[in-house]
Symmetry: C2
Subunit: 769 residues, 2 copies
Amino acid sequence: MNQDYIVPNNWSIIEEGFEIDKVKSSESLFSIGNGAMGQRANFEEQYSGNTFQGSYIAGVYYPDKTKVGWWKNGYPQYFAKVLNAPNWIGINVVINGEDLDLATCEIKNFRRELNMKEGWYSRTFNVILKNKTEIKVKTLRFLSLDIDELGAIKYEVTPINSDAKIIFKPYLDAGIENEDTNWEEKFWETLDIESENNEAFIVARTLKTKFSVATFMKNNILIDNIKANIEPTNVKKGESDISFIYEIAAPKNQTVAIEKLGGYTVSTNHNENELIKAAKQVLEKGTTLGFNALLELQKEAWAKIWEMSDITIDGDVKAQQGIRFNIFQLNQTYLGKDSRLNIGPKGFTGEKYGGSTYWDTEAYCIPFYMATKDQTVARNLLEYRYNQLDKAIENAEKNLGFKNGAALYPMVTMNGEECHNEWEITFEEIHRNGAIAFAIFNYYRFTGDYSYIPEKGLEVLIGIARFWHQRATFSTQKNQYVILGVTGPNEYENNVNNNWYTNYIAKWCIDYTYEQIEKVNSDYNSDYNRIVNKVNLTKTELDSWKQVANNMYFPYSEEHNVFLQQDGFLDKELVKVADLDKTQRPINQKWSWDRILRSPYIKQADTLQGFYFFEDHFTKEQLEKHFDFYEPFTVHESSLSPCVHSIQAAVLGRMEQAYTFYLRTSRLDLDDYNKEVHEGLHITSMAGTWMSIVEGFGGMRIKNNTLHFEPRIPSQWKAYSFKINFRNQIIKVEVTQHETQFSLEGKTPIKVFVFDKEILVEPNNLVKI
Amino acid sequence: MNQDYIVPNNWSIIEEGFEIDKVKSSESLFSIGNGAMGQRANFEEQYSGNTFQGSYIAGVYYPDKTKVGWWKNGYPQYFAKVLNAPNWIGINVVINGEDLDLATCEIKNFRRELNMKEGWYSRTFNVILKNKTEIKVKTLRFLSLDIDELGAIKYEVTPINSDAKIIFKPYLDAGIENEDTNWEEKFWETLDIESENNEAFIVARTLKTKFSVATFMKNNILIDNIKANIEPTNVKKGESDISFIYEIAAPKNQTVAIEKLGGYTVSTNHNENELIKAAKQVLEKGTTLGFNALLELQKEAWAKIWEMSDITIDGDVKAQQGIRFNIFQLNQTYLGKDSRLNIGPKGFTGEKYGGSTYWDTEAYCIPFYMATKDQTVARNLLEYRYNQLDKAIENAEKNLGFKNGAALYPMVTMNGEECHNEWEITFEEIHRNGAIAFAIFNYYRFTGDYSYIPEKGLEVLIGIARFWHQRATFSTQKNQYVILGVTGPNEYENNVNNNWYTNYIAKWCIDYTYEQIEKVNSDYNSDYNRIVNKVNLTKTELDSWKQVANNMYFPYSEEHNVFLQQDGFLDKELVKVADLDKTQRPINQKWSWDRILRSPYIKQADTLQGFYFFEDHFTKEQLEKHFDFYEPFTVHESSLSPCVHSIQAAVLGRMEQAYTFYLRTSRLDLDDYNKEVHEGLHITSMAGTWMSIVEGFGGMRIKNNTLHFEPRIPSQWKAYSFKINFRNQIIKVEVTQHETQFSLEGKTPIKVFVFDKEILVEPNNLVKI
């Protein structure tokens, strides 16, 4: 944990002073993205210190050959890696014959800013080179939301203590490798390099997956902010890179700048033979507008996003900065325009874990996108799974031996194929199937749009119900159905029997699917007939589903009056986290795996995750009992843990605890709680931060097609506010220590419940409670 | 399985006819070794077909960087690999300008023979080359038992249909790689290459481990079996290889031969600066004796081994061939002269698994070596573990967080350090500790030599008892001690709670250690004081051990009246192997790991392993009950499985079943039951084959310092016989369908029990029962 790293500020992420050990962490924290592409905050100029260079294009991946120590039958042959893409941001800089390299010169007044309000990233600093030349540098970079194939950089240099010969060497480089390649293989081959005037293009193609990408740039030199119309003095073409050389003699105090437009056109969106043509069109659009106009459009586009999705917090700058950082990064990662895309756990900020889709999407991200975007965004996320249903069926059949259309969605995927390879996760963390079904339920609950279910969702539900039906086995000993050998959400237990969360959601999936089949049968009969024929569903099969669901076993302790996380939980030595030697934490960095497994320590909400999803199935007393039983054993070493606990602490009125969990979830990366921010950000858990305010403090729920709130406020805050897009009506909720205000953007009044009391919110009419 | 591969023969392994697809399998089956080195049956001449080249030196290993998909805390950084050593057997052959290569020419009358009685390997064949020359080839190779740094080859060529120009190119090559290198790294560096007349030497050193090895050769050309005193016409030195070229013009029907002596001198046995000097001495000894005398000595040496360890079976050639193959390979692998060595699971026949020491040594191999060798051999094997006690303590401390001298021996090792890296095995298959303690008990039971315990064994026992004491945890729910999260001998269940075998042997280890402490205290008091001071043992600690041992939990089913393999066993779907679709087997090649884990299928004896070790703790009725409960779920997909089941079936008088298991264990490799013999042989389970005759059919047991027998004979056999070296008295047991004969080599009469009836066997006086 590192609390003094980032300067508290309401709207910006700011780092002051240059710390060589923090460069990789800052590269993660100051990352920028526009949903279609993104990049770590690498320096434009050469840097000889430790750095993790990363630039990524949404949907462009590479199936790296799997690496394991001991192969097990069923492991996938390939692991779809988030693919490090060609570099277009590079601008090497030479001052009076010396490379500008922050690892080798004296640096003064170094400052970074990621302006979240306006969507740009900037650095300013002075350096004194070894040759004694002092210059001032200012850079500004953004990835356009309006033209999402385009990014722009302005790189300004001002000689301070003498005249200077300044050389800018903007370049494109397709000769890049992944940090985390399994076999140190190249993933790209360069097909074509072209240049013309101030423009250059490299067409490169990924091996195996054959994604073609044109990476491009266009450069302009400005002197004292006026376009200088300077042509490159030299163009250097390598095997997979191209650079231009611009030489400028700058008198002392004169600011010389290079504006570089760049980006990618990709074969997923264009004819692969016309990528350069498409790139030229993008550059023309960008050039016509110009850097300043592009920046203005960027500010407007972000203003629109913030207008809907901002959460304000008064009286607690760190909390404010935290929540905005989370919302900002979610929007940088995924904007929901394309149902082929999903929300990678590290977004565009790193490569770790690979794949772009985890159960995080359904369990954590969908609620955020449903409430802050148009409902098509959430629907696109659901359709992503529908589009991969065949692969999920194939996965269950080929790898696990299931039959009859049972579907097991992958733990990690890019294209529907499993790409994780640890048996205890790949084969056993099957609860992911439950979250995918839950998201369908949740989508309908929130949006009221039932059409998705007869059109697509029901087939997904049937595949999932079939999986659970076959995966449960009958225990003659218990005279009930059991689910053996699973890993629950708590990945600190593997291959356990009857994980309560898994059994519960399995039963729920079958019951819910059964109900939807009946409803589709009665209300959407032609869809029903189409689907039943397609998937070959019979009454006999449905009866046998019910047999399993109605006789599912749930481990329970009479002594503690709680459901047991799994059959063997009470045999453990139940030493609470508070009584654990602090030097032993985090246990995943200190303990061998067996020791973790036989400990009672819980990585993230497990039984409590079930209480979160199915809150209305249980009383508040039950929640309290389970929270009090499990939370003391929870080490929260998953980024997904604190948010659920924050929500439940708030529900239980334990505001101090809720606030502590809130800080932990919202500032996980900013304060680097888990000492791993250099690897990239935790994107998906950021949606959990949003939930912890809206569902936790705000107490928002949907019940019977109606919004409910139970607003609470931490004592540290003066006020907070958020907006919800509920079925195309936007409600703003503002909570202070004394009252809650509701206001409505829309035309028809809306009924909401506050602490179960009905209230009518009318358009443009503030309601105070 | 491949039953028609090897020609049945009492004393030899014979293959007739050349099958290109079987070359790698035959390379394993015809392997030779002399305890100090060994090699796969690779061809001397070049071969362009599929081959697995392997030559190995006992005790010379390399720590290959660990390869895993997902690193877990505690995994070892390195994996000690059995190291492929420089090749000294190579003799490329050119006939009338054409390379002799069995993959490219016509082959007639191909025959291999591994003569187990005399300890040599031979090939004979005719080939017609593409240039139409027909030649006859005969090769004979052996690794000397007398001079264990030396091997010898005689390679004869006779032109059949024309005169021929024959070129022999004997070579040494240190530029070899392991088949199974994790990172395709070289493990050897060449330090020196020297040659002189007909001799050559390469000194190479392993990277990291710095074992230096001189690989050497000396060549003689013979014409019509008379030494020709031909010098090489050319010597070619490469970076890490050297070859001599001998050119001979051979008239039709004249036999030209090369005799090649070769081998290794190793820095583990010589000063590393004098390896070539040592090699020259070896060559001089060999040359002085000459090929033929060396071969005679080889026959004598093997005759001596067979004199003691042979088992005869009359009336069943395949059974006879099987047991001799097992005994032969065990003796090729390990002769017990050096306590730094151990018995690798593949001996000198392959690289798979790595490491040289598994619990197989203690559980399976020691009984064979105790009964067929001098007792020092078994003691050397025990001392091997004593010498690695510090590493076992370090392993438990550093990786698993144990304290106070608790020792966890590694699952796989070369030098005492763990080199396995699958958490479910590395950290959880801890029952291995039990077998190591059991072997100490077993050694004393068999040899009567108690001295090992006060001198060394007790420290090992204390380290192991301390481990179990700490590893067991108290379950408040069960009000007993439990052992959570283990993998038992059945590796088809992982991370289970209360594996009965593990719990049972844990309790036994503590109890046995406690008793030995008391005995050493009373009978070897100075040892007692030395040890107690060294390991800092107190009465309080001993009491807390007893607390655990006396309150150990054992899962038990009242319904089935059996101990349960683990807590969750009865929740499984108990479909017997007989009812399993045959296309699904072997399940480890057909099923994903999770499916195997939640199935009831057992890889090898688990609960029954406990009944084997602790037979006298249970009644025969209990054994029968457990055998009938567990065997039907056992798939025997471990090479260690059939032998224990054969013994127990024999005990239960089920001779047909015992015989079936016997064939499976004894001919596992010869008939390639598991379709993997090309990877190497299953050496350690071969000792289990010996046990299945001596302990199974022969019913040999040691009770109260006395030999007991309960001889039974399969109906397929006329007779069988074996010898036992019991406390330096050699008893021969011959069993026919009608009677059992006992005879004694020794001076004092010995009392034995046959079916609990006391019999006196006197020297040189046959006793018939």
